[in-house]
Amino acid sequence: MRSSIKLLALGAVLAIGAATATVALAADKDQIIKDRQALMKEQGGDMGAVKAYIDGKGDLAKATAGASDLIDTMKKIPDVFPPNTGGPNPDGKFTTKAEIWSDWNGFLAARDTGTEKATALLAALKGGDMAAITTAFGDTGKNGCGACHGKYREEIKQ
């Protein structure tokens, strides 16, 4: 009798523990998705600074800082895509594709391509040739950001 009460108590403790862990995991996942979107928005802002400079609406210092930040933030990408954190963004526009994790090396290679393009963009900005900057910007957008979005991001049916 006593032992069965002990067992029940143990079971209850375990169940509460598991539930708490699940809640904690869910909270972590929500936070990671928020961090992920914040990182992507930051990169969008970086590209926006370069674009503003190309369009004659922003200054070179901000554009250069943007390209530099783009390179730095590329390093953080694996941190905001840990396993089992697939799901939609808080604004519900996009979600992750399972390929991020099933093709993790491909995902990292896409990130490396992004870093390579962003590095060339920063070099072009430092070089000061507007035609080269425009080309490098388009290349970064299309073959860095866009290529990764095409492979690993999915638009949500509204």
Partner: protein, 298 residues
């Protein structure tokens, strides 16, 4: 003194003349007008011909077909449209080409499924069709067999094609915009680039819902989904300026610094080859569209 044979002399003279004419005339007769080739190449980029007719995934030769496309009528493999006589369209007359482009009928009388967007191409001008053929004829022939399995539901495909054709024909920008810039944009959007092919929702029958042109598609009929590109400020691009729309068509970037991926990234590879004037014409036409709210008939 050699005997004069007038008949033979005449024949020799005629043969020589023919030979000279052939030698002098043939390069001119076969060499295409370079301006027409350039115009056709531009139009091909605007219409994205190479996008479907190239097996880019497997590094296939340009325009030699072989891209596998899943459609609601089954999987198709795009045909080779280089001038190879056996596998491409090298043996086609101008009439064959026009019939295929405008009415979706192959030279052997079979019908294409609407994965080939002939209902839109029906309104291409005669001059543009001629330039396009001149451009395709100028390509190097590639002897790669392209056309694969045709649709299994041929009758349904034909019915759908007929409906799609009628609807598309009636859904041209009407009344025709009076400003030349917007009229040019309308032609590029509705006929050449066929933006509505993805951005207009479909009716239950799978025909474009002309009451909600460009209002976006959630992809319930097949797997295509595309955002609302009308002027609705909330679900569409009403908040975008003409410059911002033209900019997306140039490099794929949105006003908030995002970059499109997937199907639209492929389209940007076509629109980046357009002139700034044409990108702005497209943007001006889209800015002139009435706002429609995103949604589908379900």
């Amino acid at each position: 003194m050699p005997r004069k044979v007038p008949g033979r002399d005449q024949a020799i003279r005629a043969s020589l003349a023919a030979l000279l004419l052939l030698l002098a005339g043939s390069p001119e007769a076969t060499a295409a007008d370079p301006d027409a080739v350039a115009r056709g190449a531009y139009l091909s980029a605007a219409a994205g011909c190479g996008q479907c007719h190239t097996d880019a995934k497997n590094n296939g030769p340009a325009y030699a077909g072989g891209r596998v496309i899943a459609t609601e009528f089954g999987t198709i493999v795009t045909p080779n449209i280089t001038p190879d006589r056996a596998n491409g369209i090298g043996g086609w007359s101008n009439a064959d080409f026009i019939r295929a482009m405008r009415w979706g009928i192959a030279p052997d009388g079979t019908h294409y499924v609407t994965a080939f967007p002939f209902p839109y191409f029906a309104r291409l001008t005669d001059g543009d069709l001629a330039d396009l053929k001149t451009f395709l004829d100028s390509l190097a022939p590639v002897s790669r067999p392209g056309l694969g399995a045709a649709a299994s539901l041929a009758l349904l495909a034909r019915a759908r094609a007929a409906v799609g054709q009628a609807v598309a024909a009636n859904s041209a920008a009407s009344p025709a915009p009076s400003a030349p810039k917007i009229a040019r944009g309308a032609y590029l959007v509705t006929t050449v680039g066929r933006c509505g092919d993805c951005h207009t929702p479909l009716t239950w029958f799978g025909a474009p819902d002309v009451s909600r042109k460009f209002a976006g598609s959630a992809g319930w009929f097949n797997d295509r989904k595309a955002p609302n590109i009308t002027q609705d400020p909330k679900t569409g691009i009403g908040g975008w300026s003409e410059d911002e729309i033209a900019s997306l068509l140039k490099d794929g970037g949105t006003p908030d610094g995002d970059f499109v991926g997937g199907a639209m990234a492929e389209i940007v590879r076509n629109t980046e080859r357009l002139t700034d004037d044409d990108r702005h014409a497209i943007a001006a036409y889209l800015k002139a569209l009435p706002p429609k709210v995103f949604g589908e008939n379900k």
